[in-house]
């Protein structure tokens, strides 16, 4: 087979990779905000849950999480009489977003805490409620700070999608393995695949940069 014949199946796989990346990045961002803000909550229960979530998913390997969700969770579900046999797509997206969400939560927490204390003091002096101070003062300043690390996490997440091939999801890495199974032409296939991932990462980085400019518009206002 000529290398051009590899393109069709590889592009199909790349499309799956793109979808996985988009879904899990969005879900991961939601988790990141929920638990990042949760970790700063004065309510100890919310705080404990957030800390637990963050530590567990940052503290274990993504592949372990993925295998656990795919292989072990159904067994655990059976034990309590629940049907937890997740389809590969769900298990994949869930593992990816739970993992990236835990890292993102630390970014969110860090960025909120990095908002200068004097901003909270100004808010308090003007009699804002803590909630108004968080959503009106702290978050709008923290979000632009989060964007560069979020950009890195999004690329990390794109790369991590390759692991879902190990639970038989037809992403780019899976297609590559399947092709190699047929042709044993490892050099061409893996070179192509490396460049395809690189290309997707560059596009993703560019999108995150645009997003960063958008959420930090006020910083760029000039005279």
């Amino acid at each position: 087979m000529a290398w051009t014949e590899y393109l069709t199946p590889l592009l199909q796989g790349a499309w799956v990779t793109v979808q996985l990346t988009v879904y899990s990045t969005i879900l991961g961002a939601i988790l990141a905000f929920a638990f990042g803000i949760g970790k700063l909550s004065p309510n100890w229960l919310i705080k404990a849950i957030s800390v637990g979530y963050i530590e567990i998913f940052r503290g274990t390997s993504l592949l372990v999480q993925l295998f656990w969700l795919y292989f072990a969770l159904p067994v655990a579900g059976q034990a309590v009489g629940l049907d937890l046999r997740l389809p590969p797509v769900v298990a994949g997206v869930l593992a990816l977003s739970l993992n990236i969400g835990a890292y993102g939560a630390e970014v969110v927490r860090g960025a909120i805490q990095a908002v200068q204390k004097n901003q909270y003091e100004a808010a308090r002096a003007l009699n804002f409620t803590p909630r108004q101070a968080l959503f009106g003062v702290a978050l709008p300043q923290a979000i632009p700070e989060m964007m560069p690390p979020f950009g890195n996490l999004a690329v990390q997440n794109l790369k991590d999608t390759a692991l879902v091939s190990l639970i038989s999801l037809g992403d780019l890495a899976f297609r590559a393995e399947q092709l190699r199974n047929f042709t044993q032409d490892s050099t061409t296939i893996f070179t192509l695949v490396l460049f395809m991932y690189f290309g997707m990462a560059l596009v993703l980085t560019a999108i995150m940069k645009l997003l960063e400019r958008f959420v930090g518009r006020w910083r760029h206002a000039s005279n």
Partner: protein
């Protein structure tokens, strides 16, 4: 006008073993303009921050308008106040910070109008109008739509003053409002404060190192050292004939510059 609007009654405050306020007694009368001076670390900022409820106290009672600031009267006894009470008390005070502390993501107008909308419940329109009047007053009518980082330090601090005034406080607190400014920009801020002092019957409490200005604008100057008020008097008394040795030393060191 003889009723004290602010009163510190044997107030103590410590960080660990460091006593920052040490049994402080201190009063400000309604409409009075008082300047606090003193060496670094003497507790000047702490007095303002306690009043603005940014720091708690460990001992004693602070009164604002005859009501305890940090305590509530409950079944006769004074108990530590809840957030509700603090919010009510805070309404009477406005603060201008050394580092301006403007909200960098809001336009100048929004910086001023945000609290009136969110806290006082004004309509956005009314709040904007109030903001524009205040900007007019501090000489920045044409800067309403800029962001803080587009302004010079002196302009930012004038916005800071307008922002505090927008809440119509009874007492204004200024914590070294010009010490983060380039020397050339100090004047424009002091001018605004001087106008405020002369044209309004606001009570004003000002911490500053600008001795000449303190002399011009204040009714009374208080010298702080080690968390206590060591000496007070009219500007003329204190600057020309300080009674305490510590005060003399301090004034000598500072005025030498």
């Amino acid at each position: 006008m003889t009723d004290p609007i602010i009163k510190f009654d044997k107030v103590g405050k410590s960080y660990g073993s460091l006593k920052v306020l040490d049994g402080l007694d201190f009063e400000v009368k309604r409409g009075e303009k008082v300047t606090i001076i003193g060496p670094s670390g003497s507790g000047k900022s702490t007095v303002l921050r306690v009043l603005m409820t940014l720091e708690t106290i460990n001992d004693g009672v602070v009164y604002v308008g005859n009501e305890p600031l940090w305590h509530e009267q409950r079944s006769g006894a004074l108990v530590p106040a809840g957030e509700e009470h603090l919010r009510k008390m805070r309404r009477q005070l406005g603060m201008v910070f050394q580092q301006f502390n403007l909200f960098p993501h809001m336009t100048v107008r929004r910086n001023i109008a945000e609290a009136p909308v969110k806290v006082l419940g004004l309509s956005r329109q009314d709040a904007n109008q109030r903001a524009e009047e205040l900007l007019e007053m501090v000489g920045l009518a044409d800067q309403a739509h800029k962001y803080p980082h587009q302004l010079s330090g002196g302009q930012q601090q004038r916005v800071g003053i307008a922002r505090a005034l927008a809440m119509r406080p009874k007492v204004m607190l200024f914590d070294e409002p010009t010490s983060a400014l380039d020397p050339e920009l100090v004047g424009e801020v002091l001018n605004v404060i001087a106008r405020l002092a002369s044209e309004h019957d606001l009570t004003m409490l000002l911490v500053t190192h600008e001795m000449r200005f303190a002399r011009e604008v204040s009714d009374r100057v208080c010298f702080f050292d080690k968390g206590q008020m060591k000496e007070q008097g009219t500007p003329d008394e204190l600057f020309t004939a300080p009674r305490e040795q510590r005060t003399r030393d301090f004034l000598k060191a500072v005025l030498n510059g």
